[in-house]
Amino acid sequence: MTKNETALGTKEIVCILANQITVKLYIGQARLFSSWAGNAAWLLYLIGFLCQIGIFLLTAYIYKKDYDLDPIDLAGSEFGRAGELIVGFLFLIYVLFSFSSLTRLYVEALKAAIFQYSPVWYILLFFLISVGVITYLGLSTSSALHVILFPIILIMMLLICIFSYNRVDPTNFFPIFGTGIASIASKIPESMGASTEILFLYFFLPIHNGNKFPKKAGMIALLIGGVSTLISILTYILTVAYPASTQYFLSMYQISRLSLLGKILNRAEDLFEIFWMASVILALSIKLWLIVFILKKTLRLPNDKPLIWPVCILGFALGFFPVSLHDTISIYESFYTENLRWVIAFLPLLVVLAAKIKKKIGGKNHAGTL
């Protein structure tokens, strides 16, 4: 996609990135943090979030002169084809894993919570059609949908938290360091990875409609996504006592079951799934767009549209290996959240740093030969 085809403004970028950060709440992000730090899950998330802000600000500072190049372009301009392929491949693994795991975990969550008698393939078919068509219609329409739907999704999320006040037990806040300072410290890199999706911003650079690096959009997205995630995790640990808080695979769903809204409107928790479903479909469509975008760039393809459906089907199919959900969650947690995700968070910084160093060395050599 070129600048002429699509142009993303600050609003669109904020909604897309914030949705990418918050969507993980629907597949048990709060539970994951609780399993790492007990009732200090909020503290661990906060530390990781502040680290992620630090990385983003540092990357944005170094990146600001190359505001119209995405990381693959940047690697290609300094390191040639090899640089393009390596950086493209690493990002591709990350996004593909993120796409497949979100698909599998959310579809399984839907099955467990609402569609208990529907086969998974059947639920998946609906997701495949929705995600595929949205991506096929282009990033501009997808971003417009984000602008319309994300604020509603966010309001619903906050409403669930507010209406859970009757279930909040302040004693769940203590002991303040949960499972201990050592366990919190050991999980800081992993928790930092919870906002890794901010790196999508670097792929929007060529299609951003401004004339400078969209640092403001990135910061707003990080703050909206991070603060709403923090509120949700805090609500979760205050309403669900540890160690039960390490058990609920659908942590956000559990909060909604306990909220007063669910009591006023009998079994209203299922209603929230509508908004979560919209959030997941939108997030998946952006991930799919990014996979196709990276493939097109790294393989230097003339057109990306023919890739959409095969990649969508492949990504969904990958989500079902291994067959056992328990194994999928284990792999998701041990490989993706505990290793891949936070390492990839540094990749834009490493690419831009390497490019700068290369430029500097190249400049010196050039000056030397003169």
Partner: protein
């Protein structure tokens, strides 16, 4: 512009497409579904459990009058290895599809509770079909018998009956608790959960009335056939009358004894009453640290439990202690703010202080009681009475039941930095030696529509 609008409409439809999923495999016609409103869990004779489903036949709700015929509720019991097994087996002989989306109550029999509630409770706590707010209770005797005895009088719908009883803050004689809270308590071990106690009423008064009803039915049947002689009719009646008068005497004696101790020392099933609805919900069951039934608490003790927890809006209170002229006092208590707790550890002994403030409205005072003169005496009388009884109950929980049902342990968590420092076993030992100080502050607020009830003002 038109093109963009078209795209937006298509996209919105696509985003909403998965919503239509509910109309496929998970589709159920309402008349094909039987909503199970209550579940009973008893010990099985041949299998591990006997599960009772109290279901609503939705097709009968519209047309039926209250009564046995056309009543929209049915009770069916099945022996099974576990809950899911029971559901699968029940679906083999019940035409309707069982749905637990509207289940209000899960009753465990005391036999099941004595063996430990961890396993049977987890069937329900982990099942998303059940509401997180489903009420739980422990029955004296069989859970099946209790569910069968539920015949609500003022509402045809037992589901509404359960809601009104188990959810109301006016129900001072039972603890308000749901399955999720119990699950959290069991998982964390930081508080021993309590359950509302339920039973079938077996009071003499109720049995006599039922015997009378049955004998009247028999008489009517006999009258119609006209076969029996006058003599043969009078003999058993006389016998019954004698028995009744004897039991009346013994009842009077026992009730006098009871009232001299406390007017609310009842457990579910023991209340002397007459009603078409034999189901009784009164008092509470207390779990031990091993999650099995440790003890049952009377209606009066449950009231103290609710007072200490602050779980009530307003509660009626009859003072057993008499006035100087031997008359009882009835008051209505309203909590003034939340109870205040503080815990100090001294030599490994927790010193627990509980501050309770109440506003009092007098409902009944003897005409001989000079309220205007004795207002402060009345306040003191109530303060002393509540302090003594609540303190006694607190010591009972720590020394007799050995169960921290109020969750005082949770208040001690502030003192620690992380879970590694918490020691639940140590707390259990410490709690047995806990020292309680109860500070009750009663302020008289109103005296009903009369300024002074005493004769002559």
């Amino acid at each position: 512009m038109r093109e963009l609008f078209k795209k937006a409409v298509i996209l919105c439809l696509i985003v909403l497409l998965p919503l239509s999923l509910s109309g496929c495999y998970d589709y159920r016609e309402p008349e094909d579904v039987s909503f199970v409103i209550a579940i009973g869990v008893d010990k099985g004779e041949n299998m591990a459990y006997k599960i009772t489903f109290q279901g609503m036949a939705t097709s009968k709700i519209k047309s039926s009058e209250q009564g046995t015929e056309g009543h929209p509720v049915y009770n069916t019991a099945i022996e099974a290895a576990d809950f899911q097994n029971a559901v699968d087996l029940a679906n083999s002989f019940l035409a309707d599809f069982l749905s637990f989306a509207q289940t209000k109550l899960i009753v465990f029999s005391e036999d099941v509770a004595k063996e430990g509630l961890e396993e049977p409770l987890f069937f329900f706590a982990r099942n998303s079909e059940f509401s997180a707010d489903a009420y739980v209770a422990i029955s004296r005797g069989s859970a099946y018998d209790f569910l069968s005895s539920v015949q609500p009088i003022l509402t045809q719908n037992p589901s509404k009956f359960y809601e009104m009883i188990f959810e109301s803050n006016d129900e001072e004689y039972i603890p308000i608790i749901n399955i999720t809270e119990v699950y959290y308590d069991i998982m964390s071990g930081e508080r021993q959960p309590v359950f509302p106690l339920v039973a079938v009423n077996n009071s003499k008064l109720n049995q006599e009335t039922q015997d009378d009803k049955e004998s009247k039915k028999e008489e009517n049947a006999e009258g119609k056939s006209g076969q029996q002689s006058d003599q043969s009719e009078s003999e058993p009646n006389e016998g019954k009358m004698q028995e009744a008068s004897q039991s009346d005497q013994s009842d009077e004696q026992s009730s006098t004894e009871k009232s001299s101790e406390s007017s609310e020392n009842y457990l579910a099933g023991d209340l002397e009453r007459v009603s078409e609805n034999n189901a009784e919900i009164l008092g509470m069951a207390i779990l031990s640290r091993e999650h099995s039934l440790a003890a049952t608490a009377t209606a009066a003790e449950t009231k103290y439990y609710n007072m200490v927890n602050g779980d009530f809006d307003q509660l009626g209170f009859s003072l057993d202690q008499k006035t100087e002229n031997g008359e009882a006092i009835s008051v209505s208590l309203t909590g003034l703010g939340k109870p205040l707790y503080s815990i100090k550890m001294e030599n490994d002994i927790p010193h627990i202080t509980i501050g309770l403030s109440f506003l009092v409205d007098t409902i009944y005072l003897a005409e001989t009681y000079h309220y205007a003169e004795n207002r402060h005496t009345l306040e003191n009388l109530l303060e002393e009475y509540l302090t003594k009884n609540i303190t006694d109950f607190l010591y009972k929980t720590s020394q007799d039941y050995k169960s921290d049902i109020f969750g005082f342990f949770k208040l001690t968590k502030k003192q620690y930095w992380d879970y590694g420092q918490l020691d639940l076993d140590k707390w259990a030992e410490q709690y047995e030696n806990a020292e309680f100080t109860v500070q009750v502050d009663v302020t008289h607020k109103r005296s009903g529509i009369m300024y002074d009830t005493s004769l002559g003002g």
